[in-house]
Symmetry: D2
Subunit: 292 residues, 4 copies
Amino acid sequence: MAKFGFLGLGIMGRAMATNLVRAGFEVVVWNRGADKCRPLAELGAQVAASPREVVAACPVTIAMLADPAAATEVVFGAAGVLEGLAPGKGYVDMSTVDDLTAQQLSAAVIDRGGRFLEAPVSGSKKPAEDATLVILAAGDEGLYRETQPAFEKMGKKTLYLGAVGQGARMKLVVNMVMGVMMAGFCEGLALAQQGGLDPQQLLEVLDAGAIANPMFRLKGPNMLKGDFAAHFPLKHMQKDLRLAVAVGDELAQSLPAAAAANETFKRARALGLGEADFSALLRAVLGEGKRC
Amino acid sequence: MAKFGFLGLGIMGRAMATNLVRAGFEVVVWNRGADKCRPLAELGAQVAASPREVVAACPVTIAMLADPAAATEVVFGAAGVLEGLAPGKGYVDMSTVDDLTAQQLSAAVIDRGGRFLEAPVSGSKKPAEDATLVILAAGDEGLYRETQPAFEKMGKKTLYLGAVGQGARMKLVVNMVMGVMMAGFCEGLALAQQGGLDPQQLLEVLDAGAIANPMFRLKGPNMLKGDFAAHFPLKHMQKDLRLAVAVGDELAQSLPAAAAANETFKRARALGLGEADFSALLRAVLGEGKRC
Amino acid sequence: MAKFGFLGLGIMGRAMATNLVRAGFEVVVWNRGADKCRPLAELGAQVAASPREVVAACPVTIAMLADPAAATEVVFGAAGVLEGLAPGKGYVDMSTVDDLTAQQLSAAVIDRGGRFLEAPVSGSKKPAEDATLVILAAGDEGLYRETQPAFEKMGKKTLYLGAVGQGARMKLVVNMVMGVMMAGFCEGLALAQQGGLDPQQLLEVLDAGAIANPMFRLKGPNMLKGDFAAHFPLKHMQKDLRLAVAVGDELAQSLPAAAAANETFKRARALGLGEADFSALLRAVLGEGKRC
Amino acid sequence: MAKFGFLGLGIMGRAMATNLVRAGFEVVVWNRGADKCRPLAELGAQVAASPREVVAACPVTIAMLADPAAATEVVFGAAGVLEGLAPGKGYVDMSTVDDLTAQQLSAAVIDRGGRFLEAPVSGSKKPAEDATLVILAAGDEGLYRETQPAFEKMGKKTLYLGAVGQGARMKLVVNMVMGVMMAGFCEGLALAQQGGLDPQQLLEVLDAGAIANPMFRLKGPNMLKGDFAAHFPLKHMQKDLRLAVAVGDELAQSLPAAAAANETFKRARALGLGEADFSALLRAVLGEGKRC
């Protein structure tokens, strides 16, 4: 079986690396806090002392880091990825980073003779554990094929989307559609509530028809209970809507429903809901003091 | 087994009545054009010469008519439903009618001592044939319970929603959510296309994630082919959005995403797409001369 | 000088009739509450006991009534306009009524051999007193010419717009533009305020440039003081936006800015601002608990 | 009388410098193409060979340059402003630049001991010639007072708005309000046209009422003629709307009307109208092939 490096064992990374070890791959892991490596070691992973060591030891290294700052530090920092790179080595960044960061990481890796693939995912903790992530890969196509066996053990669907940047862009488009759907869902719940219908019955009708989907099914009941514990924070969804609308601006693509949804998400932020789940948009749609 | 009258054997009505006959109910049918009664007769249904005869012969009569005008004519016209009514008789209108028509039919039936239930459906030809309609009933609750055995053979889900008018209102809310989703979907496809992504891959990503739903799955591929043969005409979706926004107006419920979607659907109408499927909204979103 | 009947001596009507008397016309007035006729009588107007008497006594009668109900009652009621009509008589309704009411009044007057002109005005108490109303006339063109001398003493601008209904429609279009402007104005004030600019300085800048206008100049300072005493109630502006968007719907004319403004006005209504001046929209735009 | 340097003699700068010379100030001018200096010299201005010479010769130097690139080059380039600076010298940039550029210029000038004021203007060629510009100053308050006599000869209104950046921000807010007004104006014209009213009459009604303003008055007739020769290019207005909405995003200030207007302006860009006057938005609002 192939050998993969894995950098970053947070909520997502730990689940993904675990799936790789269980699938029988030889896996070399590293995490900023070393204690998070222990459960992986117990499953059979090797533990390295730095990103450099991981990259030096493996033909392909996968990273799943918290944010652009962490993704950048791991590559450019002391004992980082660049120090371990040699011609032909592959580096696959599955973190969610902005376009500029992705381009900088790609350029630095390629500059050292390495190969780069961005591969952000759609899905959070549960799909990571269940290996049902959707993986949006873009960059070096040979590296994509080489990493495919690992992707198959982490996700249910992997797509190759072209040049570096297109993975992140695809994720943005998907989240934009999701944001508009959430806006429509909240407006429907609010209209039902104000119009004397039982929002619980609306959930049942929606779930029985052509627009039934896991998001409505999973979030709907919590929304009616007023439970907005964050799975995907509202401020992040609003940021993605803003970025998607900005891409539309660059391309002269008018996006009126996304722009309208974005303004309501902004209003939700102003109401102090930025850290809540993005389904807390319902509060902003209903208006002050109203509940479903 | 119970006995039901059934008025209207168009595309929907024929499938629904067939399911009732096949389920073993005694069914008395009528249709404006008598030839449409033959296939039902061959399956074992009795054929009556007028709505009056059907109503006179059955404790509960179900109607599935093309539009408010037909629904009104069948009740108020010569040899119509009112002439056959007697105290205690039940009349269940499953046609899609506006609120005013529903109130007029209800009042007329109750005035003659009858009982009235509106029961519009969510779903079109295929769900009617497969008995997977979603039935949104409102009005006389005793009549609802009495008709339940028949509803179970025509749909997969039946809800009782309260006073006459709430069935139609629920349908409006559902269609509003659907319209906003379609707007978000079209904007996503257009942004993908303009941004150098493969819209086909967007369909795959969407179908693998938390917002996967039958509408995107079934309509998406046709939309990319430019096939907009009408299942649900765009002008009807736009009308439902307009009516939903109007209900929001009445209730002081702000619906910015629905309003934005409505304006794009209006623009699609102005582009001559009113008779096409409502997924032809994609054309208006993409703009003149562009294709996915 | 010509002779005119005048029905309705409310805030607007009294000022308008006064201007006619002062201009030297022979004026016959009537008002539901007779005491309001006294000041006019003192200026030289004749007082009649009913609309019928006014119409019988004058070749052209002008009406300025509070609402569609009053406008209808005065025409159709006992001792009303219709009873006084004779072939060739002119009836000019300057009240603000809906399209349906205008059509009904017009048909009834014409049916009795009379001539009908609708002539709603743009402007409220102050312009009525100052004879600076804008008069939007539509209907019988000969009657329009005959009434022109009176219009000139009540307004600064009179336009003939075509068939009955076009006067009301023009007023709707104007109010729609005004509503969108108010939305843009409020968003600008809110953005200035949130962005550390002095909203008072924004008023100065706006008033010095290409978009300087009386509405910003007059309402701006009160808005910053939080004074929203109603000149034009917010709920009426929202109603006009709704009706304008509905006309756009009928004509397949997409109106995205008006629709967005309308949704914010609806939110303002939900916040309990319906009876306040329409400039209270600022409160809804700023959000709960914020002030300029 | 005081002495001022003046850099940049384009359409705007030439008119502004001319007004300073005519007012009796001692003015030292420079322009990249020296021939543009001649008319000023004939009026009595001194001509310098570089920005450095101007700054060395004058206590306060005013710049009016075409864009951020030119504004940056003049300061940082060879024989540029920085080379002529000495402690206490004042530099007043009246060009329209982005926030980042303003901050960089300010920092560089202050770093050399100079004082910096940004002073973008509202108004174009005609107001520059007529000395009716609106000047939005921000930065060094002492320098603002010192330059006040010159501002008074170039504009009809000057405001001091606080720290560097607030001048540009105020201009953005003003342009945002203008963009929303234009959207409302175009929707009104389109609705009038589609609804059988004469758009020319709408212009008359608007000009007689509470929202009468120079922009509608000046642009309206050209818009109806289809004359969209650029005074302020549509793509620049759209950029300002985008930036204003982005500021709203940063501040969590929801701006639904501005966002809706922005999406229509984007659609106009996609229709190839970016270089036309921003009033060409009318084309996008009316839709393909329709004219007022």
